[in-house]
Structure formats: C-alpha cells, structure tokens
C-alpha cells in the first residue's frame, strides 16, 4: 500500500499525513480506474492505494472518499490498526456477489472499524448516475470525541466492481459547505 492518506481508528475517518494535490474546479478529472468527475469548486486530493480522498478544509472537517472500482477481496477503505500502518484484518472485504444491501452493510462495518460511533444509516434508495443504476444513502455518526458528522453516499456495482463516492462532514457548517458540490460531483460522474 502506498503511503498517502493514513487512515486511523480515531476521531476522524481519514487523516492525512501525505501530500495533497489541487483539483481545479470546472475541469473534468479522472479520479482513477476510468472514473471521471467535474467539481464546481477547488478541492485538495490525496490517496491511499485505491482510495482517493478530497477535502476543502481538512479531512476532519469534510471529505469525499472515492472508491474507484474495488474488486473481489478488496477492502472498501483500508483501515489501520490504531496508531500503526498495519492493516486491520478484521475489516470485511468487498465480494463480487454482493448486492447494494450488502454493500451498505460493508460500509457500516468498515466505518465502525474506522471509529465511527453510533453510526445510523438512512434512506437507502436506488439512484442513477454515470448512466448506471446505482444506490444512495445518508448516514450520521459521532467521532470518538463526540463530534457529530453527517454523510451522503452514492454507489454503483458495475462489472463485479464497486464504485462509491462517500461524502461526510461536521454537522456544524462543513457538511453543508461541501454538500452541493458533492451532488454535482455525483451528477457529473462518468465511469467508462
């Protein structure tokens, strides 16, 4: 796993100790694995293996995680054992036979292992983007320190691979700040 985003089991879902690159607004960008999108605003991008993270104000405040084509046996998001670079092997893996319901379950288990407390998932529903029938859901949780966060997620199962765009942010100010842009990112998705 390349060094980049260091995902730890503490207050935040993704906490960066790697470098960021600027993502310019208004230009289509390939996030990876033939997954394209066009943001309205400038974002900062970092990555950890197959997972890409964008943020405006820092990952503790708001972030978008792109899962760009997880294959059978891949982690949705690599979770590190607290304070180390060792992967947490207790995290379930994506399986190619999963339905959207089981992906939501995978998301829930992964986020809990990342430290999300009292995770509540709501409004699981079909949603079409990138000309593909996918699914969406919302979620809310508390960090270990009790900071309330909300999130919104879009996922597609295509050719036995999983693509997801997972947005989350602090309920105070930061979730709302990036939410509209997240919707634009989902609407402008192209997966070749």
């Amino acid at each position: 796993m390349r060094n980049g985003i260091f995902i730890i089991l503490v207050a935040t879902i993704l906490s960066s100790c790697g470098g960021y690159k600027l993502v310019n607004k208004g230009k289509e960008i390939e996030v990876g694995n033939s997954m394209f999108t066009t943001p309205f605003n400038d974002w900062n991008s970092s990555k950890d293996g197959d997972v890409v993270l964008w943020t405006m104000d820092g990952p503790m405040l708001q972030q978008i995680i792109f899962v760009k084509g997880a294959e059978d046996g891949d982690y949705l998001i690599p979770v590190r054992v607290n304070g180390t670079h060792t992967l947490d092997k207790k995290v379930p893996k994506f399986k190619k036979d999963m339905t959207s319901i089981e992906v939501v379950e995978l998301f829930e288990s992964t986020f809990k292992r990342l430290g999300a407390q009292n995770l509540e998932i709501s409004n699981v529903r079909p949603y079409e983007a990138a000309k593909t029938k996918g699914f969406r859901f919302e979620f809310g949780f508390l960090t270990k320190d009790g900071l309330a966060k909300s999130g919104s997620t879009y996922g597609i199962l295509k050719n036995k691979r999983l693509f997801m765009v997972i947005y989350s942010g602090a309920n105070i100010h930061y979730y709302d700040k990036g939410k509209e842009d997240f919707e634009g990112i989902v609407r402008s998705l192209r997966i070749l």
């Binding site: 207790k90 399986k95 339905t99 959207s100 699981v124 079909p126 270990k144 320190d145 009790g146 900071l147």
Partner: protein
Amino acid sequence: MSVEKAEKKSQTAGNRVTDKKLNDYVRSIVCRLAKEYCQDIRIYIMRVPMFNASMYPNGMMHIWTGLLLRARNEAQLATVLGHEIGHYLRRHSLQRFKTYMNTSNSLIFAQMALAVAGAPAVGDIMNIVARGSLAAFSRDHEREADGYGLLLLAKGGYDPFEASKIWKRSIREAKADKKYSSPSIFNSTHPQSEERMKVLNDLAGRVWTDETVTTGLDEYKSVILPLRASFLRDELDQRNFSSTEELLEILIEDGANLSELHFFKGEMYRLRRKKGDLDKALNSYRESLALGNPPSVVHRQIGLALRRQGDAQGAKDSLKKYLELNPDVEDAGVIRQIIEESEE
C-alpha cells in the same frame, strides 16, 4: 493522560451510551452494592462490544456494553461491578484502615479470622474491606477485589452463587476463540477463571445469608433485552466469529427472545462465509421464523443468502415476501431493483 482528563474525554465520548433507563438501572445496581459510597462513583456506559468494566482511582467507572450482553441477570452484572467497586474501596479505605489497624490490630485480625473461618455476619462496608484484605483472598489485588465483590453482592441481597457462573460463561467463550485472543480483557488480566470459579463458589457458601436473595433476572431482561439487538450487531462487527458462535449458544441456552438470537446466529454464518455457512445461516433464519416474532428483515436476509447460493427464484420469492410483509420499508426501492436485476 491524567484521570481527570480521561474523565473529561469520557463525558463527551461518541460511544458513551446516554440511554437514561439503562444508566438509571446500572446506577441503582452500583448503589445497591456500594451503599454509602454510591455518590462517589460516576458511571460511564461505553458502547464497546467486549466483556469489561473498569474503575479509576477518582471514582470513574466504565462499563462496556459487551458485559451487559454477556451477563445473564442482575446478580451476574453485579458480580463484575462489585469486583470493580472492591478495587475502589480498597484503595480509598486502606489509609483510613491503616490508622485503625495500628491501634486495634488484634481486634481487626480476630474479626477477619472469624470472617474467613465461618459465615460472616455481613456488616458495614468498611468491615467487609477489612475482612477482604486477609487470607481468604490473599494479598493479590484481583483476588481481594473478587472477595470484596462477593461480599458486596451478598450484602446487596444478590445470590452469591451467580458470581462463579459469569466466569463459567466467560471461560466457555474464551475457549471457543480459536485464536486464543480472549474477547474479555477483564478475563485476561484477572485471575485464572477456573481457579476463580472454584474460589468464588466456595466463598459463596460462606457469605450466604438468610436474607432474601435474588438473581434479578426479570429486571435485567426488561432493561437489557430491548437493547440487545444493537449489542449483538456490534458483536458481529468484531468478526470474532468462533467466540460469537459460542456466545450465541450460551444466550440461546438462557432462552430469552430466542427468535432474535437465531436470527443473529444466521447473520453470523452469512457474514462468516465459510464453507457450508450459507446452509447454516438459512437454517438459523428459518428457526427464527418458526419461533415467531423474528426481526422484520429476516425474509430479506433469507433472500440474500439464497441469491448467493444461486437460487434465483427462491431469492426473489423471499425478497418479495419481505416487501409484502413490510410495504413501507425504507429500502424497498433497492430491493425491487435487486429483484428486477435477477429477472434480466
């Protein structure tokens, strides 16, 4: 980190369980055990799916939800809480006792010898602490705390024979864990459970009083059972499937809300994905259904398991049944989508 700082973090921790009914209930048990020291103890129930409780020297007590899931009744929970309170009382009473013991040493030793030799008349808590620090429980702090706990348990009106039973359950679960990574931190840092069970059982006979003793089973069930599904879901997220399988067996033997337990057994097999697990999952889901009043998603989970087994028609029928029985469920749209995709 200082204890004061740790307590501040505990106050706002995201995994602190704030359910008032549960907090009030646990506090009532702590007060029943700690009596005049009850107000010194501040309780923090934390959503952590492991068997543990801990007591800090400043009076902060942490109780993990994994303990609440594993205790069968109030007396078993009180066993662990009494042990932790024992630690606290020992630390905070030792200095006061030192003076007392220096001035009336022989008296105290005589009292303690009596307590060890025969059934003690369970007196005030300071007396218990004094007795507890003698030979019956050795100088070992953990064994002492076990001793205090047992005396507090008896004095609180609980059946002291329940004390050894919670360790018996814990041993079964730990032995089932193929990787020997005990799910119980409490267990691994405490006296050998087999030895502890024997000692506690022997002592239970000595501290038995003719006063009313209770296991508090009904009270415990009325508070814990409504929360148990969320505790079980957290347990499954640990993915320690061997010990979870044994835990579910233990809970099934207890017999409370069996339909829910068989459903979670099905969930455990479906998530474990070992050879033959899908059949086991389906059997457990069907057992849950047969027992009546299963969780509303049982037909959905049967559908998902059948789909993975390649039984497209069976899967479709079960998913349709789920929608028929739960027409207003939030995930109805994606279930219809899965059904449509299976028809394409």
